[in-house]
Symmetry: C2
Subunit: 203 residues, 2 copies
DNA sequence: CGGTGACTTAATCAAGCGTCCAACTGTGTG
DNA sequence: CACACAGTTGGACGCTTGATTAAGTCACCG
């Protein structure tokens, strides 16, 4: 007989299972039955741990948002602005590359959230973007950087990361994605050189 | 009694209606009832024009793929490589900006296609990318451009366009998107300057 | 005026959904 | 050891909603 598991641990299992199922079947295809099966738990177990499916999904949201927060805050606070930007982009892309399911599930969640025109869904995207701005602002710089510049850099990082994710989760080609990571970073770098007025880096 | 319409015209109505409904409710939410309602037609009418829902969706795919083809082929064939790339990126982004529904529906279709791991879905993305490559190849250039370089430029255009689309369809902020178009073009431009400028033929 | 193509009504059939209950089992505690 | 309770289960409820179609009605063209 299988060991008994605490509710807290079960909840965590359900969240991870939900990410997998959402990635594989989409939001609408993420049924309680499939999630329970993926979590190797009984269907009734899900309602023992969560009052409703919606409650579980709220936790899934928090999980995804938290992962972004961790990745973004992981950047070295002593680097200069340009290097911080590079690290942020690379960090997010590596996070995507690490788990295709996470990438796909995030995409599904964001597009689902947009459909419901609820704030909560956009919140994931919005919070992540705001955290990126905050980290960029805190990067030491020789001259003061205008807020508008920060916004633009954050936008470019997000754009490159999203575009990367799109390609990676569409083709699922890991080796191609690895090369594309380098391209994305070089693109950011070229633009920052022009935008911030430093000397461009020779390849 | 309403005017009578040819089957061909009806089909076109259904395709457009399907795009709207997919954008608003997602693929799984795009039911025959909703599509028929959006097309201001009877539910049975749909099955009078199409044998099945799947047949309609096949046409929707062809419609989306065709729109990409048109936009991409619309670029001026006399521009040099760098300008061609700029035009391609701008063209795709303008196409997105023109119709939020088209943008959203495309996203939905691509992520749905990935889930079904059928080739047909990826085909939309793939065909568009290949057409971009073809146009880039046909751009007149002083020195011969390596195939790898073409691939990379096409990838960067796709990445910037996808990232732009992601942000635009998430926030739906048209004025922000217009500014972001310029940023995206400037990013491409900076990178191209480095990428093409620093690879002389015979050093 | 008939027939063909456009159109509608209403029903069929079935699948699958979230949720819940009542019973059962293991485990730690007194 | 016995008891209480957290963890676990199979099964069923009721309900929504899906795609599809049979059969009938209407309008237009020759």
């Amino acid at each position: 007989m299988a060991r008994r598991i605490s509710v807290a641990q079960r909840r965590s299992d359900f969240i991870n299972a939900a990410v997998e199922v959402i990635a594989a079947y989409g939001i609408d295809g993420a049924t309680t039955r499939r999630i329970a099966e993926q979590a190797q738990a009984n269907l009734a177990m899900l309602h023992y741990c969560y009052d409703s499916k919606e409650d579980l999904f709220a936790d899934v949201y928090e999980f995804v948002a938290g992962k972004y927060r961790d990745v973004v805050k992981d950047s070295d606070p002593h680097s200069d602005l340009r290097d911080t930007a590079r690290q942020l982009l690379r960090g997010v892309m590596e996070c995507y590359l690490e788990s295709a399911s996470f990438t796909a599930a995030t995409m599904e969640l964001i597009s689902w959230a947009r459909r419901q025109h609820g704030d909560r869904g956009i919140a994931v995207y919005d919070q992540a973007l705001e955290t990126v701005r905050a980290v960029l602002r805190s990067a030491p710089s020789d001259h003061p950087v205008e807020p508008e510049t920060i916004d633009q850099i954050a936008y470019v990082i997000a754009t490159l990361a999203d575009g990367f994710a799109m390609n990676w989760f569409t083709y699922g080609d890991r080796s191609a994605a690895t090369e594309q990571m380098d391209i994305a970073v070089s693109v950011l770098d070229s633009w920052l050189a022009v935008r911030l007025g430093s000397t461009p880096v020779a390849p």
